[in-house]
Symmetry: C2
């Protein structure tokens, strides 16, 4: 359910204003803060990097535990946090779950930090 | 001192690779996680928004307490966290400290979430 809400937010033009733009409302600030909390962990950042950079755009959970010296349940926990933040989505097919990054969410974060007026062209 | 190191990192081409790009190293993941920890708070996000969007690019600390129902020391604490994360820098002139966003840092974060291959053109 929450994933659907996240995706709907993305279509709202107010959602994607940069930090250098209009005043950020309390609700949006709270929602963004929860996304950054999900990103505030080195293992989750590396997992997101692995998922977002995989050829074909989709990573099997079976390939995500290998680079980390962590148990499968720990990796699953981190993947759940990323999923709840709307950064990745997973689909079970047979034995494994396959994850992909949610491009709308990453693009929104990219736009949040865009500084058109200050960035040298 | 740490601010200088942050600015040097920005000039390193490895620093600015997107999450959809090369493998994120453990050290960079740890450093980025600490930046996202600084961003994982609604008040700090709103402060950064106020500072990044102010006309002239510089905000007097005297103007930053008004929109929040928080004490001056609490606001100062949040500003310190943003400063330590390299997101803003402050300069004391007379009675007040004036803050501005660090464009290299925000641009780096913007690039981190860029998805050139997935974003519709």
């Amino acid at each position: 359910m929450s994933k659907l809400v996240d995706l709907e937010d993305v279509t709202d033009p107010v959602c994607c204003a940069p930090l250098s733009g209009p005043v950020l409302g309390e609700d949006e600030a709270a929602e963004l803060a929860s996304v950054f909390k999900a990103l505030a962990d080195p293992v989750r950042l590396r997992l997101l990097n692995l998922i977002a950079s995989v050829e074909g755009g989709e990573a099997c959970v079976c390939d995500l535990t290998v680079p980390f010296e962590l148990s499968a349940p720990t990796i699953s926990h981190h993947l759940k946090v990323l999923r709840q933040a709307g950064l990745i989505e997973g689909e079970r097919r047979g034995t494994w779950v396959y994850y992909r990054a949610v491009p709308e969410r990453l693009t929104r974060l990219s736009g949040l930090f865009a500084l058109p007026a200050l960035t040298p062209s």
